[in-house]
């Protein structure tokens, strides 16, 4: 029922925007008309999904999982610390501070660097961890976990997957088991904790993770109806036998967590979020987050190759929504290019008419449809502000986050769009841990392209302020963060 309301509302909102656009353009079938229509379709669907998710999160009642007050048994637990040249010594050593008795820690080491391996050996010896290494990195993280499943799964009732930067409270295992051992949760195979970030003493993680409680609030509500994926592949607890039964983690997909959730749902099993907080590190600097976004974009699109006949409708819609979220990025880039190009080439290329054409180009943003889109976008910000207040996030922190995230979004348009286009053309994808990345020539090219777009945007903005100040005022909410992005982002990197 919820999925039908959700989908209908998304399509309805999207239809209103599209109909308004078509009414204005009167089915303009010129190249610009068609391209603008495609861009508007992408953006309006994205905004429609986003608004509907937020509204549903507010109005849906929360039905949490049942849990035991006290543990009656002490099942065998394994904590799997996955590492690939991105060792965090503090995080690894903190894993040994659990107040549960019957647990063992395994370090699943895919590292290639000698120094990392040495450090892991030292820590493992000191804390009595078991190291599991393999000959190749086949299947990436999924392959690493499957390797452990083959070797040790029979000895453990549950296992917990931790990334190299995961941190837990000392009661984490006990708290998770209270959910796992409750009889009514027999069909739930994966218990996902709520993620927060521990490195908020750094400027960039602090600003960017401000709205994480809002994300957790929405994800918890939506995931109980499978409207959103509820498995992140880290800081989560799994029933070992069932995971083994379904064939382990899918190795064909970089997003092994989402693919596993699909595989489990095919068998009628569930993944659920539980009300237990755990921590991980937010990418310390912008460059790392950019790489993470590029990888997430491609791996989410890669998941569309997943083949099944038995995935429930809500998860199909969730997959579509996820893929669309990233696939719309090249549309933003196309929109920006059209915005610039329409100023020069509207109708036909004519330098004499350039000024008039420019006015037509910037007039696009002053149009009722654009205002409608801007309205939806602002509505979304207001709903989030309401949630921020509800979850006791200071309003100023929230607004600061909005400003910075829009600046970051403007910066990310180029690399994320190009990564997606590259993946769609070559369909090759590799997994690289976020913090072990060296910036390549391609990354520097992205930066240069971004700067070019940035300078053009400044040029157009100055002209807009002179010719049509009202247009500038109307668009200031996205123009100001975009124009200030180098300054804001410079602060992130320093």
């Amino acid at each position: 029922m919820v999925i039908f309301i959700y989908t209908t509302f998304v399509l309805l909102l999207h239809t209103i925007v599209s109909a308004l656009w078509l009414k204005w353009t009167e089915l303009n079938l010129s190249i610009f008309g068609v391209l603008f229509f495609i861009v508007i379709q992408g953006i309006s669907l994205q905004l429609s999904f986003s608004i509907c998710e937020l509204l549903l999160s507010i109005f849906l009642p929360l039905k949490g999982l049942s849990y035991l007050n006290e543990l009656n048994a002490t099942p065998n637990i394994a904590i799997l610390y996955t590492v690939c040249d991105d060792l965090d010594k503090d995080a690894l050593s903190e894993l040994s501070r659990q107040d549960y008795i019957n647990y063992k820690i395994f370090v699943l080491d895919d590292s290639e660097r000698y120094e990392t391996k040495q450090k892991i050996n030292e820590l493992a010896e000191y804390y009595n961890f078991t190291i599991v290494r393999r000959k190749s990195r086949s299947g990436y993280k999924a392959g690493n976990l499957n390797n452990w499943l083959k070797l040790y799964s029979k000895n453990f009732d549950y296992f917990i997957v931790a990334d190299s930067d995961s941190k837990f409270f000392s009661s984490f295992i006990r708290d998770m088991l209270k959910y796992g051992e409750h009889p009514s949760n027999y069909n739930v195979i994966v218990f996902q904790s709520k993620l927060l970030y521990w490195n908020t003493n750094m400027y960039y993680p602090k600003v960017m993770s401000t709205i994480q409680p809002i994300s957790n609030f929405c994800i918890e509500k939506l995931s109980q109806n499978d409207l959103i994926y509820s498995l992140y592949g880290r800081n989560s607890m799994y029933r070992t036998a069932k995971i083994f039964e379904v064939g382990g983690f899918p190795e064909d997909y970089i997003a092994e967590d989402f693919a596993l959730q699909l595989r489990l749902r095919e068998k009628g099993y569930l993944c659920r979020i539980v009300n237990i907080v755990s921590y991980e590190a937010y990418p310390a600097i912008l460059k790392y987050n950019r790489k993470r976004m590029q990888r997430w974009a491609c791996q989410t699109i890669q998941l569309l190759k997943y083949q099944s006949k038995r995935i429930p409708l809500p998860l199909i819609i969730a997959s579509i929504r996820n893929a669309h979220y990233y696939l719309v990025w090249p549309f933003y880039l196309l929109g920006l290019c059209l915005f610039f190009a329409s100023s020069l080439l509207y109708g036909e290329f004519n330098l004499g008419k350039m000024f008039n054409n420019f006015v037509i180009g910037i007039n696009f943003l002053f149009h009722p449809v654009a205002i409608f889109l801007i309205g939806i976008f602002l509505f979304q910000i207001i709903i989030r502000a309401y949630l921020a207040l509800k979850l006791k996030i200071p309003l100023m922190s929230y607004l600061k986050h909005c400003l910075y995230s829009m600046a970051e979004g403007f910066y990310l348009i180029v690399p994320v769009s190009f990564s997606i286009i590259h993946y769609l053309i070559f369909t090759k994808l590799e997994f690289n841990p976020t913090q072990s990345i060296v910036l390549s020539k391609k990354d520097r090219a992205y930066n240069s392209l971004w700067l070019i777009i940035f300078y053009i945007l400044w040029f157009f903005t100055i002209l807009t302020v002179i010719i049509m100040p009202i247009n500038f005022i109307l668009n200031s909410f996205w123009l100001i963060p975009a124009l200030l992005s180098p300054i804001l982002l410079w602060r992130f990197d320093h």
Partner: protein, 160 residues
């Protein structure tokens, strides 16, 4: 079925619904408006004088001018001859414009729309042998209706 099939189906569905609803709503509104105007137009045409002239009469310029000057409102004279058309647009006896061209496919928008005229444009593609399709437009260049007419060599519509 692979997930991307669902993705494409969803995207195509969302785009199709958007365009369809707009088009259906637009067409419905347009048709209603068209029907009203068409009914009014039909009544006017029924009242209109329809004069058929033969080739000699048409070429008699003095007689032709007399006929035109006698008409109080718009008078359109059409010459259909061997695949070529000649249209004379008059209003209250004054010549507004003339057009001469070969029959083409489709309907071409004319530049002779006048707000003070009752019927504003007519196109004459050959419909079938001995027939022509007359299409009526209003000042907003919206199509009002069509009428299939027998082609006499020369046809004059006088609309009040």
């Amino acid at each position: 079925m692979k997930l991307y099939y669902y993705f494409f189906i969803f995207i195509i569905l969302s785009v199709t619904i958007s365009i369809s609803i707009f088009l259906i709503a637009g067409e419905f509104k347009k048709e209603k408006q068209l029907l009203n105007e068409y009914n009014i137009l039909i009544k006017k045409i029924q009242k209109a004088k329809r004069l058929n002239l033969n080739k000699d009469e048409f070429n008699d310029k003095i007689k032709l001018e007399k006929i035109i000057k006698e008409q109080p409102k718009l008078c359109i004279i059409v010459n259909i001859d061997l695949g070529e058309k000649k249209i004379y647009y008059y209003n209250s006896g004054s010549l507004i414009a003339t057009e001469s061209s070969k029959f083409g496919k489709g309907i071409k928008q004319r530049e002779y729309f006048r707000s003070d005229s009752t019927v504003f444009a007519i196109t004459y593609p050959i419909y079938e042998e001995n027939f022509a399709l007359v299409t009526y437009y209003n000042t907003n260049k919206q199509k009002l209706g069509e009428e299939k007419v027998i082609i006499p060599p020369y046809l004059i519509y006088v609309l009040y």
